[in-house]
């Protein structure tokens, strides 16, 4: 089990550093690149948790599609590509840091209190649970109505995005 822990800590430290980078970077494109590190790190964590299919969906959708959308957004709003010290943040940085630290403190205390003795035990049978076959079967049997609702939501979002961004 120790290999898993070592892998977890390496990926977790990279993710935490990149998450700080996303919210503190002075360059919009750098923030997007830090975001790629966070998403790739989460995909690696899903692999550690034996959720193989979700990990690859994460790579395809988040790194493949959402980051590209963000880079298009950066391009279309003509965000400055050079360093812009202080212009990307507003004046509530201190208050925001206090709120975030307080939230993290409360969450950490409650999580440690609630799940202190809970161990994840990985068995060979769990590899099957995370496979595309098992996830697909669950979506199309148990969760078929939410699945259809989500597809309507995506259609509505598509039409809405076109309607909003269209120039008349």
């Amino acid at each position: 089990m120790w290999e898993q822990q070592v892998a977890f800590w390496i990926i977790a430290v990279a993710m935490a550093g990149a998450a700080i980078g996303v919210v503190r970077a002075n360059n919009v494109v750098h923030a997007a690149l830090f975001l790629i590190v966070v998403f790739a790190g989460s995909a690696a964590q899903y692999i550690l948790l034996l959720a193989e299919f979700v990990a690859w969906v994460q790579v395809l959708i988040y790194i493949g599609a959402i980051i590209v959308l963000f880079l298009f957004g950066v391009m279309l709003t003509r965000a400055p590509m050079r360093e812009e010290r202080g212009k990307l943040d507003n004046s509530q940085r201190l208050a925001a840091a206090v709120v975030a630290l307080f939230l993290f403190g409360v969450l950490a205390v409650f999580l440690v209190d609630a799940f202190a003795g809970t161990e994840l035990r990985f068995r060979d049978s769990m590899v099957e649970v995370g496979s595309a076959a098992s996830v697909g079967e669950s979506i199309f049997r148990q969760f078929v109505i939410p699945f259809e609702v989500v597809s309507m939501l995506l259609l509505a979002a598509l039409v809405g995005a076109v309607a909003l961004a269209r120039r008349d």
Partner: protein, 99 residues
């Protein structure tokens, strides 16, 4: 391996995202911070799915990923509209509704 490792990591990412939403002025960066928070939720869902040995958590993570994609599409359309009307992507310039 303790489930708390994953939960604390996820809480950290969520709080970093919350800081970004509150402290960023550029609207594209605010959307990126929202994505960070949604991603933190996914790590939680997958960790509990592994603990319960149930695939439902993974299915819900897939739904969250889909909704995040829809949210970014709409969000960037709105950002584009703000940029077109105000000639700036900064959120504190959006104040037409201020009394």
């Amino acid at each position: 391996m303790p489930i708390n490792y994953f939960l604390i990591l996820s809480a950290f990412l969520f709080c970093a995202g919350a800081y970004g939403v509150l402290a960023r002025r550029n609207s594209v960066l605010v959307l990126m911070s929202v994505e960070l928070m949604l991603n933190a939720v996914n790590i939680n869902l997958i960790a509990f799915s592994a603990q319960a040995q149930d695939v439902a958590g993974q299915v819900f993570a897939l739904f969250v990923i889909t909704i995040a994609a829809a949210e970014v599409g709409i969000g960037l359309a709105i950002v584009l509209l703000i940029y077109r009307n105000l000639r700036s992507p900064d959120l504190d310039r959006v104040e037409q509704l201020k009394g």
